[in-house]
């Protein structure tokens, strides 16, 4: 692809095994190109390799075979590591283990401080990052007193303050309650829209993929499906075979179809689904 921010070439990865055991490959040849400015969701059940894939995107894990290029830089090139990390920011599952300081603004300032950004510019970036995640009211708060969703938004702000071209969320919503999950999703969608930041969201919640530009489904270390949410979710049988639950709307429409109703499968939002059922019932 011409304008790819992240590109993988025949990427394989195996975790080091105990002595005498065969290493089990977590990734078995992945060729992907993440387009600049897009919102990509990577789906997969536990052990599908989706989290391993994410960790190769900024050199946390180095490929055991093949290459990963970030903005044209090979992640295996140690001299470029800092440049790669500031291009692709990463947010992890547990917000508690990512927050470094005990005041919100100090934590958000951590990355720009590391990069040697001048003080006034740090101030501007911190305020801007907190505005983007809608946490401006909490500048002087202590992170451990915030809710899970709020903490995770602080962690995201801490990455945004680096001004990365791409942000990877490695199951960043997995530990959150539904409210916190929605808060985080709103924040990253806004980031994608307002800043044009590329977002790669790793998750096993199907619903989070509804508004994505592109959905990639991982299974057994390989890319099993790749397309728009509409294309992916209509392949109900295949998704079920991979141990993934389809969104509730698609599930309902699928059952109705099997009962002989004439409804489309690709109504993803609750409204579209209701309209489709209403239209079919009136026929």
């Amino acid at each position: 692809m011409e304008d790819a921010i992240i590109e993988t070439k025949d990427l394989t990865f195996s975790y080091p095994a105990d002595e005498g055991e065969e290493p089990v490959p977590a990734l078995r040849g992945v060729d992907l190109a993440i387009e600049r400015g897009s919102f990509v969701v990577v789906l997969g059940h536990n052990g599908s390799g989706k989290s391993t894939l994410a960790k190769t995107f900024n050199g946390v894990l180095l490929p055991t075979g093949g290459h990963v290029y970030v903005d044209g830089m090979d992640t295996a090139d140690e001299d470029k590591l800092l440049a790669i990390r500031r291009t692709v920011g990463m947010v992890f599952q547990n917000p508690d283990n990512q927050i470094v300081a005990n005041v919100v603004e100090e934590d958000v300032a951590f990355a720009p401080e590391n990069l040697g950004v001048p003080t006034e510019e740090i101030r501007r970036r911190v305020d801007e990052a907190l505005r983007l995640v809608d946490m401006s009211a909490f500048v002087r708060h202590a992170p451990h007193l915030l809710s899970g969703g709020q903490k995770q938004r602080i962690a995201i702000a801490g990455v945004i303050a680096m001004e990365p071209a791409c942000i990877v969320l490695d199951e960043a919503t997995a530990m959150l309650d539904p409210v916190g999950r929605r808060e985080v999703l709103t924040a990253v969608h806004r980031l994608n829209r307002e800043r044009g930041t590329t977002v790669v969201l790793i998750t096993h919640h199907m619903n989070e993929a509804e508004d994505a530009d592109r959905v990639i489904v991982m299974d057994d270390g390989r890319v099993a499906m790749d397309g728009t949410p509409r294309e992916i979710f209509t392949r109900v049988e295949e998704l079920r075979a991979m141990g993934l639950t389809v969104p509730d709307t698609v599930d309902l429409l699928d059952r109705l179809r099997r009962d002989g109703w004439d409804v489309p499968l690709d109504a993803l939002t609750a409204e579209a689904c209701a309209d489709a059922v209403f239209a079919a019932a009136n026929k």
Binding site: D96, F110, P112, E113, V159
Partner: protein
Amino acid sequence: MLKDITLGQYFPGDTLAHKLDPRTKILLVVFYIVALFCAKSLLAYGILALVLAVCVRISKVGLKSLVRGLKPVVFILIFTGVLNLFFTPGGHTLVQWGVVRISAEGLRNAVFMVLRIMLLIMGTFLMTYTTSPISLTDGLERLLNGLKKLHVPVHELAMIMSIALRFIPTLIEETDKIMSAQKARGADFESGNVIQKARALIPILVPLFVSAIRRAEELAVAMECRCYHGGEGRTKLHVLKYEGRDLIALTLGVLITAGIIALRQFTV
């Protein structure tokens, strides 16, 4: 119950004592300790107690919370007092019962020693009460900056300190959770003698350590992902700056300390 523990016990406020640069406050405490160890007369102790009283007044920290800070050292205070009172050799004898003998010298030593420890602890507490842990570590890092030339890992030590402070509430919360989980399985932390009680702590400590190590690993990766590469070339969101009030406070501190040392010349 564990949630009440706060380390460093910082009381937020907006007084002059809070606004002083942390480096100034650390230096002032050092001066104060030097002065305490140089004080030899009742007058000198009187002056130092007065100085502390004035500082406490400015900081608006209640005297009660300061005195509460003395609680853990009551034993040491009594011990030091008694030891000095009875076992100071020589001097003019005041009372004598058999082998027990109290001399004027001993009484003097005992009073001074106890006063010294009390003032020292209260003075240091006043600093931690009025300075947030983060600015305290920041101040320490900046003060010891010169030691970097001697290859002392000043930045790393300050980083370790601030991360430790950051994780105290997290680990306390975790301890609470583990305790509840073990209690739910019938663990008993309250009954039994000291050894049994200590034994009962093992099922809490082991999971706590395991999780702390896992957290440390994740935090290290997250820090690296945010481009942490040591103290070199780092900038700061809040830059410490000496103001006029810091200069005045430091001058006063130097003058008082010098005065106390000078007083030594005039008393026996």
